[in-house]
Amino acid sequence: MGSESAPEGIDIRGLSHAYGRGDESVEALSNLNLEIPAGQFVSLVGASGCGKTTLLDILSGLLNVQTGAVRLAGRPPRAGRRDTARMFARDALMPWKSAFGNVDFALATRIGDAAERTPQVEQLLKSVGLGDFKHALPAELSQGMRQRVALARTFSLRSRFVMLDEPFGALDALTKINLQDQLVELWEQVSASTVVLVTHDLAEAAALSDRVIVMSPRPGRIVADVPIDLPRPRNVRALHATDGFQKLVAGLWETLDAAS
């Protein structure tokens, strides 16, 4: 495997994926090549149908690789790999478990001892501003708070690879920016993982990422690979106020328009 240029990161070679069979098959991804070095925060953006969630499902091992090769730290993706965490578009919290219970459920797959987990779960909930809500059921929390719990759950695993599928898609603008800051903080402080974020919000992609991959729809192809050279640590709310950031987002829009 010496030829891989991202041995500890993510390496995607000639990846194609189709849904359905025969005449009715739809090509979701076509001959994708992508290298993500370890520790990089990458966003996948593109119109719906560009295969970004398909790519995320493949990286999480929830979909099998059909054509091509995918390696995470040199090994093929597999659902349940202990070094991979996945966050879903809707919070996917279990309504019968409290905020604490939902985070604990995930962390229990890494740490068997409940007494050892408890302070960690409490600390994580505190760090997403939900220290006082650990006993609350998801139905008693706002959508934004629920996504915070889901964030805490995802990052509790301290995984090398984190796959996020439009985690803030359903939130209002203000809550969204607050949660983006929360995510940056968790990522910078709790676990400096390799992150792949799927989003259709270009400002979100620019604010959070080291690099934005722009994809074109049907079949999904990479049309642009844009480095984001903003300094870290970042503050999303402050970034939004700067001219440079607005220009960056405008540039991404042009790239995306040209692609579709």
Binding site: L62, A79, R82, R86, A92
Partner: protein, 255 residues
């Protein structure tokens, strides 16, 4: 709170208006009293039959069969659901057969149950079980299938073992539907047992209904119906209370 009081008052008023109209129709002879009964009479009959022990004794006999049928039907249905969830092939195999059996009017089986079990407790239980089992089974299977696919994907991504997925995700997902099935099944079990008593006789409340009817005593029939309504209402209220204390995260599913 105020709204609830107003609603309760409104309902009482509705029942009172209905009762007064009924009473008036019976007393004036606008409708034949000997057929429609008379509220003032059957309310007194009801109290009398409670006090003299007729209803309590009959209720105990009916409820014994209801309770056994309910528990037996529930256990069998949940075991079947467990098997069908664990082995999806078994479900695909059995589902159409179960649907067909469920479509069968179970009342038509009672003569067969009498033939098999005699006219005692067993045939009443069989009748109750034959309804309870299918009600709960179909609700439970629908509930198990209502599991959020994201929860299953999350479990896969966390490599949660299958038995834990079942216990911690599929069962809680199905619980609201299971409770809805238990509540509805409770009412239908009473129906099954009462019907069996109507047909086969014995000493339960269903037998009293047919006895009063056969002796041209509509007031006795209505007094027994009051007892039945109170019993089924109390049973479903108890079920709802248990449900609220267990499945706190979910508003009860209306049935």
């Amino acid at each position: 709170m105020k709204e609830r009081l107003t609603l309760a008052g409104g309902r009482l008023l509705l029942i009172a208006v209905w009762g007064v109209a009924w009473e008036a129709a019976a007393q004036s002879g606008a409708l034949p009293r000997g057929l429609i009964g008379q509220p003032s009479e059957f309310l007194l009959d009801f109290i009398e039959l409670v006090v003299d022990g007729t209803f309590p004794k009959a209720a105990v006999i009916t409820l014994e069969a209801v309770f056994i049928a309910f528990v037996l039907g529930a256990v069998l249905a949940l075991l079947t659901a467990l098997l069908m969830t664990a082995f999806p092939t078994a479900e695909r195999l059995a589902a159409p057969i179960i649907d067909a059996l469920n479509a069968l009017p179970r009342v038509a089986l009672i003569p067969l149950f009498i033939l098999w079990f005699g006219i005692g407790m067993e045939q009443k239980v069989a009748s109750g079980v034959s309804i309870m089992y299918f009600v709960l089974l179909s609700y439970t299977m629908a509930g198990a299938k209502s599991t959020d696919p994201d929860h299953l994907r999350l479990a896969r991504s966390l490599a949660i073992p299958r038995w834990r997925v079942f216990v911690e995700i599929i069962v809680p997902s199905a619980l609201p539907a299971i409770f809805a099935g238990l509540r509805l099944g409770m009412i239908y079990t009473v129906l099954g047992v009462i019907t069996a008593e109507l047909i086969a006789g014995g000493k339960g409340l269903g037998t009293l209904v047919s006895y009063y009817s056969n002796t041209f005593n509509p007031n006795g029939v209505f007094a027994t119906l009051i007892a039945l309504v109170l019993i089924t209402t109390a049973l479903t209220a108890a079920m709802s209370r248990i449900e609220r204390s267990i499945a706190k995260w979910h508003a009860p599913i209306a049935v």
